[in-house]
């Protein structure tokens, strides 16, 4: 007994300490809990429900009937409109993200320079971010309106033969315009990330390279671009995620038309669910999109982790 007795004070101290640590962790968990609860209910449950619907036969009004295995997926994949929408999604995503990067990099470089009125220029560049995609789409739909739009009005005034030209009637032209609007609304976010990256490059590096004999072009090539690359990667991945999912521009400007030629996956799914009542198909499409999103998310996590690890060194 005496051996046990002698160890008692230490042991109670240990117990009490771990008790305190536990209550601290418990308190931290309580602080995190509401956030987690909200997220798991409102995001987690629909994920589960969509996955469930994708493998069951679901009636028009949403009653889940018998297990359908991959039936919904097979039906969806064999729908030519779905296949077409997939291709158009690819074109849409690549064109918008690529175009956004091409436009954003020079804009960010310019906005990082010190010039008169820079704050105003920055504000204007970021302006599209402040406006609802839905409203941007509405306004652009009016701007390119063949009969009354301000674009044709301006082009005509400049003497160009565009009076009454129906921009959105031709699927190819409509899709190009939607891509341009997509680029326009993605630039502000991208410029913000790139500016964050540019401001993190210390001025002394440029001073050092100038002393080493580098021209401004050399500095751009050998200092700015390599140091900006991690930010560009992140901007690309995040833009892919956002653009891939972007719904309002296409939905409002053309509603996927004419004849589904501007449909992308997300508008296809929305129509399946809310116009045609094919919930099973819509769920299968959603699961496909969700899986692709997860892949992008993992790439993003990998990129940020790699960068974090670099920063730690």
């Amino acid at each position: 007994m005496s051996a046990i007795d002698s160890s008692t004070p230490i042991r109670t101290a240990t117990l009490r300490r771990s008790g305190a640590a536990q209550s601290n962790s418990l308190f931290a968990l309580i602080l995190v809990a509401p956030c987690l609860l909200l997220s798991v209910t409102v995001i987690g449950y629909p994920i589960f429900d969509v996955i469930r619907m994708s493998v069951f036969d679901v009636s028009r009004i949403g009653i889940v009937r018998e297990f359908a295995g991959f039936g919904n997926f097979i039906k969806t994949f064999s729908d030519p409109v779905f296949v077409q929408a997939c291709w158009q999604t690819l074109v849409w995503t690549v064109a918008v993200v690529g175009g956004t990067m091409l436009v954003s990099i020079p804009i960010a470089l310019i906005l990082n320079e010190d010039f008169y009125g820079r704050t105003i220029a920055r504000t204007i560049v970021l302006l599209p971010w402040a406006i609802s995609l839905a409203m941007t789409a509405v306004v652009w739909r009016y701007v390119v309106n063949g009969d009354f739009g301000t674009l044709n009005m301006t082009l005509s005034a400049l003497g160009l033969p565009f009076d009454g030209y129906p921009w959105l009637a031709d699927a190819r032209m409509a899709f190009i315009l939607e891509i341009l609007v997509g680029i326009l609304v993605s630039v502000p976010f991208t410029v913000t990330i790139l500016l964050g990256g540019l401001t993190s490059i210390p001025e002394t590096l440029y001073e050092a390279s100038a002393i080493d004999g580098a021209s401004p072009l050399h500095s751009l090539r050998y200092i700015t671009m390599p140091l900006l690359w991690p930010f560009m990667q992140i901007a690309i991945v995040l833009n892919v995620i956002y653009v891939f999912n972007s719904f309002p521009i296409i939905w409002i400007m053309t509603n996927g038309g004419p004849s589904n030629r501007t449909d992308i996956l997300i508008t296809y799914i929305y129509k399946q669910a809310f116009a045609f009542g094919k919930l099973g198909n819509a769920a299968a499409g959603s699961v496909v999109m969700f899986a692709m999103l997860l892949v992008f998310a993992v790439i993003y996590l990998y990129l940020t982790k790699a960068r974090g690890a670099q920063d730690d060194v």
Partner: protein
């Protein structure tokens, strides 16, 4: 190169993009101030004949657009308050305490931030339908909070991390309890960050389209962006003069608020949103 010359070059280089950005605004302004017959003629110009404010009157009096604005405002304020109420404690715990499973939790939040609600829209619709919340502003408040909260946590975390831990420790030693130190020392110092996050959440919620479109089916419950888009789709002859007036009202105040925080966004995004 002199700064003046450089400035000219910079503005010239930026001008194509700036024009494209401003073009829709000019369109909005020009159209909203025109009378209906002026839009549908062949000899149109940028400048209206007179500054006609009748479109705004018609919008509020005949079209009940005020209702849509109130709906939008209710949802945005509600979603901002709810998401901050859950995000502030979570962000505090994640920056200041050892939360079990911290990295799993941050990764989870990061991923939810990337999931577009539209992918899950069927599931969301069915869930809120189950609770009888379709056509209730509450459903959109909850949905917006859930989807915008992760970003709020993210931004708050980056602001919270800039507040030296020393300050709270000093307060503890001075005799303040954990809560007292949080309220008297921590909160006043991170107030700017909280305000920026709140504005950002507000703007996101104000502008959101897909969830509001899907969860609020009744015209009386529609938000401003949904109603504006709705106006373009249903009428035989689209009343662009009214639509542009509505767009102007729904976007300009928000754009001004947003512009006021853009300076903080560049810092905040690179601190927290990206890293």
């Amino acid at each position: 190169m002199s700064k003046a010359r450089k400035s000219v070059l910079c503005w010239v280089a930026l001008s194509p993009f700036l024009i494209i950005v401003l073009f829709p605004y000019l369109t909005m302004l020009s159209t909203a101030l025109k009378q209906k017959d002026e839009i549908f003629t062949f000899h149109r110009s940028w400048l209206p004949r007179e500054f006609y404010l009748g479109n705004f009157v018609e919008l509020f009096v005949d079209r009940n657009f005020g209702r849509a604005l109130v709906n939008s405002l209710t949802i945005s304020v509600g979603a901002t308050l709810l998401s901050l109420a859950v995000a502030i404690p979570a962000a505090y715990a994640l920056t200041r305490m050892r939360v079990p499973g911290n990295s799993a939790l941050t990764n989870y939040l990061l991923i939810t931030q990337m999931i577009s609600p539209i992918v899950l829209i069927i599931g969301l619709f069915r869930m809120f339908a189950y609770f009888g919340l379709i056509n209730s502003l509450m459903s959109v408040i909850i949905a917006h909070s859930a989807f915008f909260m992760a970003f709020a946590v993210w931004m708050l975390r980056s602001y919270f991390a800039t507040i030296p831990k020393d300050l709270e420790e000093a307060a503890w030693i001075d005799g303040a309890g954990r809560f007292s130190a949080f309220v008297r020392i921590f909160l006043p110092l991170c107030l700017p960050g909280v305000v920026v996050t709140a504005i950002f959440t507000f703007v996101n919620s104000w502008n959101e389209y897909a969830m509001s479109l899907t969860l609020l089916r009744d015209v009386s419950q529609q938000t401003a962006p949904v109603q504006i888009a709705f106006l373009t789709g249903t009428l035989y002859q689209i009343e662009w003069h009214l639509i542009m007036a509505a767009t102007l009202i729904a976007s300009v105040p928000v754009a001004i608020v947003f512009a006021s925080i853009q300076r903080y966004l560049i810092g905040g995004m690179s601190l927290g949103g990206v890293k």
